[in-house]
């Protein structure tokens, strides 16, 4: 299959979807000139009525998307930085997410929110580095975070076609990554995880850009006789419970490897699920790796103590191996 970069895959997906469905339009900031690259060429192709730069009024344009969705459109909202979700928070979690339920099913709110997910990009500092997904998941919003170019396109298709609000996270670290991408609009369904590497010693549940990190670590650890089973949930909500259970049972030793703040974050949710429902499968404690719960410091030197990397994972797996002679198990 032909290879595209992750950002190109999103761009192509948007273009094809917009060509298919005149009700789709995109709002955001600097999206006509495509500052972030995801909407490149779309304003020229579809016009400024469908690729719309908004004033710096995130709450209002998020709400506008809700009202447009309720009246028959299928809006896509691109947030230039994750934190813009904080400014629009009421409109996201208290309006868009609640209207279908509160009206007793009288309406749907088919909006896709494209958020940058941070990770591995230094120098963005405290207010441009947050991962918004645990906040949105707590409110019950569907969340996807593709880990490769092919999924980037396939999950975008699923997100935009979904009749629910869906938050789509595109990690900065992946935008330039290349991978095979189908030419057509092939949906990767919401709620389906993927085993990205078979292994037998430890199961790593890895999110977004950390999937690739995990594969690198897996290659390293292979040499030491430790075999990682790597599972990519792809959709964080709804979770693929069957896929997750199988991944847990595969080894009985689990690390959840995520880049959102640890406290009430995604890793905790998964760890709690496992500890409650597949306790019998566990051979030891469920390990969590997440981001330290502080604003990301500017200095790249300090970053390493805050934002998890493959190195963090390696240490955790090695310490598990140490206490359980995993090498022998593998």
């Amino acid at each position: 299959m032909r290879q595209l970069r992750y950002a190109q895959a999103i761009n192509e997906g948007l273009r094809q979807l917009m060509a298919d469905d005149p009700d789709i339009f995109v709002v955001g900031e600097d999206i006509r000139h495509s500052l972030r690259g995801l909407t490149r060429g779309l304003a020229a192709e579809f016009g400024h009525d469908r690729v719309v730069d908004m004033p710096i009024s995130e709450a209002a344009f998020t709400g506008l998307a809700t009202g447009a969705a309720m009246s028959g459109m299928r809006p896509v909202v691109e947030y230039q930085i994750g934190a813009l979700g904080f400014v629009a928070f009421d409109q996201l979690v208290d309006q868009a997410m609640k209207l279908p339920y509160m009206t007793g099913g009288q309406c749907t709110v088919p909006v896709t929110y494209i958020f940058p997910a941070s990770g591995f990009r230094s120098g963005l500092a405290g207010q441009h580095s947050d991962q918004l997904y645990p906040y949105l998941m707590h409110a019950g919003m569907k969340v996807v975070i593709p880990s490769n170019a092919g999924d980037a396109k396939g999950l975008l298709v699923a997100a935009i076609r979904s009749d629910d609000p869906v938050a789509y996270f595109a990690p900065a670290a992946l935008l330039a990554a290349r991978g095979p991408v189908p030419e057509d609009l092939v949906e990767v369904p919401l709620g389906k995880g993927a085993v990205v590497r078979e292994g037998s010693s430890v199961t790593v549940i890895a999110v977004g850009h950390l999937v690739a990190e995990t594969l690198r670590v897996a290659a390293d650890l292979e040499a030491e006789g430790i075999s990682l089973h790597v599972y990519d949930p792809r959709t964080l909500l709804p979770l693929d419970l069957e896929g997750l259970e199988a991944a847990v049972r595969k080894t009985g030793r689990v690390v959840v490897f995520d880049d959102s703040n640890l406290i009430c974050g995604f890793a905790g949710e998964v760890a709690a699920l496992i500890a409650e429902h597949w306790f019998d499968a566990l051979k030891g404690p469920v390990k969590r790796i997440g981001r330290a719960t502080v604003p990301v410091p500017f200095s790249p030197f300090l970053d390493k103590a805050i934002v998890p990397t493959g190195e963090t994972l390696k240490q955790v797996v090695l310490s598990m191996a140490h206490s359980a002679s995993l090498g022998a198990v593998a």
Binding site: F25, D49, M54, P55, S57, A59, A60, F61, T62, G63, L64, A65, T66, G67, A68, A69, M70, S71, G72, M73, P75, D90, Q91, D94, Q95, L99, P100, Y101, M102, T103, G104, G105, Q106, C107, T108, P110, G140, K142, S162, D163, D164, L190, G191, P238, L241, L273, E276, H277
Partner: protein, 334 residues
């Protein structure tokens, strides 16, 4: 633009009476612990909802507020389904899931009451967006209060509506208070409508106790929006003749001078409407009495309908969260 004439005027009066009697009944039932929670009564502001909604088509869209019953009734909502909603029953508009603060009839263009002050404005802008893109001629009208005028999202939405020339009429119901806080203290300007200038938008004020005046102004502004001449802001000077909500009496708050309440009570929109009907010879005192009796019977029937309606099926508690088969996460397990 001709004002409300003859039959229309009587219908408008009927709608105002419907709101008044509905609200009085609701208050009674809340205080009897028959309706759960609290409700924000629309009593005193009837001329605004009715004056504005008589200027709208059924396909036009409104967003409402925490004080939403009047808007829903004026836009054509059925009092029996509304009452059933307030009772939390399955025949309610929202199948009992919304209650007073979230009551909606999307098929009538009522995009919902809203528990968050100001939050409806951008949602209305979205409906206006669709109208503009699809050329349906729909006009979107968000109602909001004087207190809401100080919310950030109100500013953002007005700017946005102005730059995209969205077909909207922003209707501010300035009833002089946001709960216990007076508009005079909380706003840096004397009138909300003058803020329209900050968006290069047309703004005007109207006597919100006079349904004919409201209708006239709203009709002009709605037509303007429908023609493609962009949004405008209509400030309706009104007053709530009762407390902020059904619980207020029990709280014993006192933040409004008695004389002020008395003064505005003289301008009760129902009195103003009746006087006009009689003066214009559209209806006799007996006609008005008949309207009131008919509406009272309707409200009785609505209440009985609500009380007779079943609870929502228990397994609907987790339904409607997602449009597809995705299961909502329950209290334990999944």
């Amino acid at each position: 633009m001709p004002g409300l004439q003859g039959r229309q005027l009587l219908d408008a009066y009927r709608a105002m009476v419907r709101i008044r009697l509905f609200e009085e009944r609701v208050r009674d039932r809340v205080n009897a612990n028959d309706i759960p929670g609290v409700c924000h009564e629309y009593i005193g502001q009837e001329a605004v909802a009715v004056g504005v909604c008589t200027a709208l088509r059924e396909s036009d869209v409104i967003t409402s507020t925490h004080r939403g019953h009047g808007h829903v009734i004026a836009k054509g909502g059925a009092t029996n389904r509304m009452m059933a909603e307030l009772y939390g029953r399955v025949d309610g508009y929202n199948r009992g899931k919304g209650g007073s603060m979230h009551i909606a009839d999307v098929s009538l263009g009522i995009y919902g009451a809203n528990g968050i002050v100001g939050a409806g404005l951008p949602i209305a802008a979205g409906a206006a967006w669709t109208s503009k893109r699809k050329g349906t001629g729909v006009v979107a009208v968000p109602f909001f209060g004087d207190g809401a005028s100080n919310q950030g999202v109100v500013h953002e939405t007005m700017n946005m509506a102005a730059i995209f020339k969205l077909p909207m009429v922003f209707v501010c119901e300035n009833n002089l208070y946001a709960i216990s806080a007076s508009f005079r203290e909380m706003s840096s300007v004397e009138h909300v409508h003058t803020r329209a200038a900050a968006y290069g938008m047309h703004g005007e004020a109207v006597d919100g106790m006079d349904v004919e005046a409201v209708h006239e102004a709203a009709s002009r502004l709605v037509e303007r929006a429908r023609r493609g001449d962009g949004p405008s802001l209509l400030e309706c000077k009104t007053y709530r003749l009762v407390g902020h909500f059904t619980a207020e009496q029990a709280l014993g708050l006192s933040y409004r001078p008695k004389e002020e309440v008395a003064e505005w009570t003289k301008r009760d929109p129902l009195l103003v409407g009746e006087a006009s009907l009689l003066r214009q010879g559209v209806a006799s005192a007996e006609d008005l009495e008949q309207v009131r009796a008919e509406v009272a019977a309707e409200i009785d029937a609505a209440t009985e309908f609500a009380q007779a309606s079943a609870w929502p099926p228990f397994d609907e508690a987790l339904a409607h969260m997602y449009a597809d088969a995705t299961a909502a996460r329950p209290m334990r397990g999944w």
